[in-house]
């Protein structure tokens, strides 16, 4: 009985399986990042339920910046899907434009979130509230930084004609990671600024 044997690649091109492996790996990492965020949100809510004063009197919240950042991430979710769609439709010019806009959103997000964290006037250890709020904001900041790197690499490879509808895995993985980072920030935003 003949059975085709999957031979390792002799080099040059990525093995066929890698195309689906990378986006899948990003989704798997997203599972861990989801429970990481859920753990921090759970800690926030648990500590809030036991605190006499929550949030503390001296806690200042820059809601305007926080909302702007949430909108930025949501817009980025749209533009990165636009880029992915364009690559599959062989619209290289559009995909480059969409990636460039997404890169702009990523830089704006990192810049804005850094500003938001520095605007928390109290120290990390001043109370349990400030400890958990810092944690809730620093984790999406790090995820956003990773998303920025992914977007940059994907943009450069797209500019170098290395992405196509048949070699789509990097774009799909980057888009997946952007969505995960966006959900992480929105969860943190909702917890700190909406539920309070």
């Amino acid at each position: 009985m003949a059975v085709p044997l999957a031979l390792p690649s002799a080099g040059g091109t990525a093995p066929a399986d890698r195309r689906s492996a990378f986006p899948l790996a990003v989704v798997a990492i997203g599972l861990a990042l989801t429970t990481l965020t859920a753990g921090l949100v759970a800690a926030y809510l648990t500590l809030r339920s036991g605190a006499a004063e929550w949030p503390p009197e001296d806690a200042s919240r820059d809601t305007y910046t926080a909302v702007t950042l949430a909108v930025t991430m949501i817009l980025g979710m749209v533009t990165i899907e636009w880029a992915a769609f364009s690559i599959r439709r062989r619209e290289r010019g559009q995909s480059l434009a969409a990636m460039a806009i997404t890169l702009g959103f990523a830089i704006a997000f990192i810049n804005g979130l850094y500003y938001l964290i520095t605007q928390i006037e109290a120290g990390v250890g001043d109370s349990a509230y400030f400890t958990v709020v810092h944690a809730l904001l620093v984790v999406p900041f790090l995820a956003g930084l990773l998303a920025l790197i992914f977007v940059l690499v994907t943009l450069v490879r797209n500019a170098g004609h290395q992405l196509s509808e048949a070699n789509y895995w990097l774009m799909r993985g980057t888009a997946n990671f952007w969505h995960i980072a966006a959900v992480m920030y929105i969860a943190a935003y909702y917890t700190i600024f909406i539920t309070k």
């Binding site: 390792p8 990378f22 990492i29 599972l31 990481l36 944690a135």
Partner: protein, 533 residues
């Protein structure tokens, strides 16, 4: 008839892989077998060190208490023992074993994302070294992961440097564990050979898929606890002094409040399903049911998040809440499937004796809890009994399962036959675990604390048993220098694909992959050829 197909105009898989393998060193390899073996060695050494520390803790020169695993204080020895055994040792052993065996079971020529896997392994080892350095240099002030209560510090009181170093090492280990789980999960989903559908995967591969999912979920939550603890200790916070702070500790840091408490024993259920099928030389009775039960056991470990300290006053702890008790149901039913499968005849193999020991360890806490309920153990006695239950269920069962799985898959992991030493190893491990748990049980039933010294001897026996697991590694043979497939099948007559590859497996895993029409392709092939199964 089996025909090997080569790519037109190309060289064979073996000739591509062998020159690459020759250039590779242990530091640069992306071979899942080498990386898995590396993790296995690190894990076994770590557990051996943890058990020696536990023996020291329970000896007259140490605290001379009934157990090192749940000390509520901040003893450096017991804290190091818990970390070395549960946070480094057991995850490394199981992830290493699965990294070697699962791709072979699936007919994969390599693991998916090998660089990610290599990063995970080296990150894990680096994290383990950082943690070890933290314990060697000074005494970390908390966190003791075996303690259900966090160490509460005063306002503005910052941790010393080694505490931060310890937390950083634990965070690195957690990230690496998650990456290793990602590699395993993606390998199962994308690297299966043609014909190997999800429903045709062996039970161990299924439990690896379920286990890596649980591990990813659990690693995220554990990391959130570690990160909060790091910020709290680094900046002199009072997070755990707040009302509700202890709950954060219990569900995100405490060893018993997280799925890992039972996950590795649940993986043992999956491993022994394949062991029993192999040595009974037939597929398991009601194979789909067994597969479903093994998967259910793994996912049921998520119920560990339902743990709380109110359960600790119960002699049936750590399965002290009804939700946690549900874990025992699919596990118990799977054992019944094994027994039914073995009734049809069996070729005795040391790994089956490990399975018997594993069943004994799963049953022991239930028997003791029943006896405690009859006698009416409560208060401090119940808490002491809980320590015994933890030793048996959280350390004994997963460790014995890992040792049994290693004995079974020795040809594929280390490249030789199962050593006769494995029987001695079984005695050391089983006797050591029972002896380690016995003082806690005895004190629970009202005996004096003097018996704690017996636990020290038990911990040393366990350490010796774990060290014996490393003996086959010393005699490991290089790939390509092994026996033919027929030798393996003479000893095992295995049903699944890992037994279709030479021993030890070559760098490219398979020269020929048999046709896959069910979950037991080799069994099918033998029957097709008219050879009795």
């Amino acid at each position: 008839m089996t025909i090997t197909e080569t790519r037109p105009g190309a060289v064979s898989a073996a000739s591509i892989a062998q020159p690459q393998a020759a250039r590779e060193t242990v530091f640069s390899t992306g071979d899942h077998k080498q990386l898995g073996r590396l993790l296995l060695v690190v894990g076994l050494l770590s557990i051996a060190v943890g058990c020696v520390l536990a023996a020291l803790y329970q000896s007259p020169v140490g605290a001379e208490r009934a157990t090192a695993w749940t000390d509520g204080g901040s003893s450096r020895i017991s804290s190091a023992a818990v970390t070395a055994t549960f946070v480094i040792g057991l995850p490394a052993v199981w992830l290493g074993l699965l990294a070697v065996v699962v791709p072979l079971q699936l007919g994969a020529t390599r693991a998916s994302l090998p660089r990610l896997q290599a990063t995970a392994v080296w990150g894990f080892i680096t994290g383990a070294l950082v943690v070890a350095a933290a314990y060697v240099f000074d005494r970390p002030i908390g966190p003791h992961l075996g303690s259900s209560l966090p160490l509460v510090t005063g306002e503005g009181e910052r941790a010393n440097d080694v505490t931060l170093l310890l937390l950083a090492g634990l965070m690195l280990i957690t990230i690496s564990t998650a990456l290793a789980a990602v590699s395993l999960l993606v390998t199962v989903l994308t690297q299966r050979a043609e014909g190997m559908t999800l429903l045709r995967m062996p039970v161990l591969s299924w439990t690896a898929l379920a286990g890596s999912t649980v591990l990813l979920l659990s690693a995220g939550a554990f990391f959130s606890g570690l990160f909060l603890t790091y910020l709290d200790r680094r900046y002199g916070g009072e997070l755990f002094g707040q009302r509700g702070g202890f709950r954060v500790w219990q569900h995100q840091m405490w060893q018993l409040g997280r799925p890992e408490a039972f996950l590795y024993a649940a993986l043992g259920i999956g491993a022994f399903c394949d062991v029993v099928a192999t040595h009974s030389r037939r597929p398991l009775v009601a194979f789909p049911v067994a597969r479903g039960l093994a998967i259910a056991t793994v996912f049921a470990t998520l119920l560990a998040w339902a743990a709380n300290t109110s359960a600790l006053s119960s002699p049936v702890a750590p399965l002290g809440t009804p939700a946690q008790g549900l874990i025992a149901i699919p596990a118990g039913l799977t054992v019944l499937v094994w027994l039914a499968s073995l009734r049809r005849g069996v070729k005795l193999h040391p790994s089956l004796l490990f399975a018997a020991g594993f069943i004994l360890l799963l049953a022991l806490p239930g028997l003791v809890a029943g006896a405690a309920a009859l006698v009416g153990v409560e208060g401090e006695g119940a808490e002491s009994m809980r320590n015994g239950q933890i030793t048996v269920l959280m350390l004994g069962a997963p460790l014995l399962a890992a040792a049994g799985a290693l004995a079974h898959w020795t040809p594929k992991v280390w490249g030789g036959r199962t050593s006769p030493v494995s029987l001695l190893q079984l005695l050391l491990l089983l006797g050591g675990i029972v002896l380690l748990a016995a003082p806690a049980y005895a004190i629970g039933f009202g005996m004096d604390d003097d018996i704690a010294i017996a636990g020290s001897l038990g911990a040393l026996l366990v350490a010796a048993g774990v060290a014996a697991s490393l003996l086959p590694a010393l005699g490991a043979r290089k790939a390509g220098a092994g026996r033919s497939d027929d030798d393996d099948q003479g000893e095992y007559r295995g049903l699944t694909l890992e037994w279709a590859t030479p021993t030890p497996p070559p760098a490219h895993n398979f020269d020929v992959i048999p046709p896959i029409r069910s979950a037991h392709p080799l069994h099918d092939e033998r029957n097709t050829q008219g050879v009795p199964a």
